[in-house]
Amino acid sequence: MPVTWKWESQRKQYGKALVELGKERGDIVVMDADLSSSTRTSDFLAAFPERFFNVGIAEQNMMDTAAGLAASGKTVFVSTFAVFGTGRCYDQIRQSIAYPKLNVKIVASHAGITVGGDGASHQIIEDIALMRVLPNMTVIVPVDSLETYNAVKAVSKTPGPVYVRIGRADVPTLTDKNTPFELNSATVMRDGADVTLIGCGIMVARCLEAAEELAKHGVDARVVNLHTIKPLDEKTIVKAARETGGVVTAEEHSVMMGMGSAVAMCLVENFHVPMKRVGIPDTFGESGGCEELMTKYGLTAENIVEAAHDVLRRKK
């Protein structure tokens, strides 16, 4: 990866954004389930102890309590690891948050396979699927730490349920102060005419690397950061498909029903182009180092380049 990239923790910026929000607004309440020092909600706890509620290891209880707080006018940020903050309390999110459209923001960390050593029990690769199928739910996968900060600020002003997925590992900073962050609107990170690489989260950096590699072979690849998976920015996706004639998606998530599937469904219904999804195959992960796991489960820039060549072949 280019050495010029600055690597930073998304969680750190999450903690910072929460503290700022806490200063600006009295209605902000934060909850965690015994993981506050990992998710960095501990920063909020230190600043506003009276507005922070630790529920212990009880995620179901946390979601319903958050719903009650939201029903009384609070803007509630709830955090834990993504594996516990989605599947473990799915019914609570469905019944008490999504169905009544309550103002609960689930910001879940340690998502995906890059959790690393903890192994498959902690590597959730199906959370995007679980959350995007819920009516009323917005699903956001910030690309870097700055975008995490911007996303948290943006969703705090938007009523309704939101899922924000962040990781454990430090990620390269791809955006800067001037990069616009608009909910529901994908960001074109690099223009190109031959093929479009659509990534989310840490895979956007790999898409940019892949684009560099493809350029060496005379292929002009567009890179899109699809930070909001629901609602889907169909306009940007269809435009890219129309203008480049082929699409590759890349996500640190199961290929079954994640971001790539959302893009595929959009293109099938709107504009047919050859397409390939890069992601984790239909399998659980395992313990290992981040890079080792990314390589074994097909999440490298090379995998994206290969997929792009496949799409380019089918374009002809």
Binding site: Q60, N61, D64, G68, A71, S72, D91, S96, P100
Partner: protein, 294 residues
């Protein structure tokens, strides 16, 4: 609309909770509303062709006591910030809740007949945002106490004095989350929460003690740090008395274990498993209406 004089709906000052202050006439008025609520519930379920009569009838008196005497609320302002909150955790008793809300004036009584029908504001289970007066979407069991706790935490944060009332089914005591919520309420000293357990001793598949034994239930709540009161859940005086007692308890939440009879008020439904989740037939409906007549 209710025929209870506005004056008597006011909260009684603490320490003035002796049963004698409730004269016979006042209690009779509450009982008469409860009978009306039972009639509505059975009619709604009969017309819808589905629903849960047993649990609607067992919890009816508790809801009537709350909405027509205990709670501070204003049907004309369902979003009044200082209102007391009621969460029907056992959401399948929705017909009784809707009947109580309609009789209180949240929406026209005629609307009750739309229960479970297309386009109705009265969904099979309570839906927040759809029905005026409904404070939380429920139906999937075991969620209501935690949601009520959230409302109680918000009240404490905002230094508001309103209270939160949660009606739980005894079958819900099987759900782990009920006990997570019980721990939380106690940990955060939510003395503004009063939970009622509709202890009718029957769940869908059979007697609670056969399906998943709950006893000693009062000891369980005590062990979780709650103030526990046991009453006859069909006796208005006892419900009101227990509620007043709860208001005086500081630093911990109160649970009122209400011993009730499933299907209370309709002879053939009383203590019957059969009417947990089944609408009455034409003949059964006629008989129920006769029994619940004035």
């Amino acid at each position: 609309m209710t025929d209870i004089p506005r004056e008597s709906r006011r909260r009684h000052p603490q320490g003035d909770a002796r049963l004698e202050i409730y004269d016979g006439e006042f209690i009779r008025q509450l009982e008469s509303i409860a009978k009306k609520v039972r009639r509505h519930s059975i009619r709604m379920i009969y017309q819808a062709g589905s629903g849960h009569p047993g649990g609607s009838l067992s919890g009816a008196d508790i809801m009537v006591a709350l909405y027509f005497h205990v709670m501070k609320h204003d049907p004309k302002r369902p979003d009044w910030q200082d209102r007391d909150r009621f969460v029907l955790s056992k959401g399948h008793a929705a017909p009784a809740l809707y009947a109580v809300l309609a009789e209180s004036g949240y929406f026209p009584v005629e609307e009750l007949d739309t229960l479970r029908k297309m386009g109705s504001r009265l969904q099979g289970h309570p839906c927040l945002g759809k029905t005026p007066g409904v404070e939380m979407s429920t139906g999937s069991l075991g969620h209501g106490l935690a949601a009520g706790n959230g409302m109680a935490l918000a009240a404490k944060l905002d230094r508001r004095l309103h209270r939160v009332y949660v009606l739980l089914g005894d079958g819900e005591m099987d759900v782990g989350e009920t006990w997570e919520a019980a721990m939380l309420a106690s940990h955060y000293k939510l003395d503004n929460v009063t939970a009622y357990v509709d202890r009718n001793k029957l769940q869908l598949d059979g007697p609670t003690e056969k399906i998943m034994s709950l006893e000693p239930l009062a000891d369980k709540w005590k062990a979780f740090g709650w103030h526990v009161i046991e009453i006859n859940g069909h006796n208005m005086k006892e419900i009101i008395h227990a509620t007043n007692e709860a208001k005086g308890v500081k630093g911990r939440p109160t649970v009122v274990i209400c011993h009730t009879i499933k299907g209370k008020g309709v002879s053939y439904m009383e203590g019957s498993l059969h009417f947990h989740g089944k609408a009455p037939s034409d003949e059964e409906y006629e008989q129920a209406m006769k029994e619940l007549g004035d």
